[in-house]
Symmetry: C2
Subunit: 90 residues, 2 copies
């Protein structure tokens, strides 16, 4: 594996894994006051497109990273929408 490939893998791991602490915090506290609905709706849709892109290319790394990110981002978006509907900590 080249140095460039290693940087790519570190980048992918960090940007995917970064959503774990946010999802844990959001699910635990149910507080989504300072989370942007616009961000999470656009991001969830974007990650879904990345997943479709990965499936078309049959690229396991793209599929794997985006399947995890989609699960995390969609969970955060779900709590945000529930709070917006319930008008609680929206």
């Amino acid at each position: 594996m080249t140095h460039v490939e290693i940087i790519g893998y570190i980048a992918a791991t960090l940007t995917t894994a970064s959503f774990v602490p946010q999802a844990v915090l959001t699910i635990k506290t149910r507080n989504t006051e300072s989370l942007s609905f616009g961000m999470y709706s656009a991001f969830t849709l974007g990650v879904s497109c990345w997943l479709i892109y990965g499936i078309y290319l049959a690229d396991k790394a793209i599929i794997f990273a985006n399947a995890i990110t989609l699960l995390l981002a969609a969970s955060i978006l779900f709590v945000k929408i529930r709070n917006m509907v319930g008008k609680k900590k929206a």
Copy 2:
């Protein structure tokens, strides 16, 4: 441009642009209570790695998308850290 490439461009645009409403909300309200420090520190570091990766590959799309995302994510992280230090809406 193929259908697959179009899906890739839509994906990249959405995941990059999604940080605009979050950065606007965070800078405007200064409220970072429900934002995870772990997420924004790991994400900012990860996007920096993507930028280095793009520079190594001389891939303009990777450089462009990640330079914008880095600016937005770093701005959000900056407000979060300032609030944590000031213990205000941390």
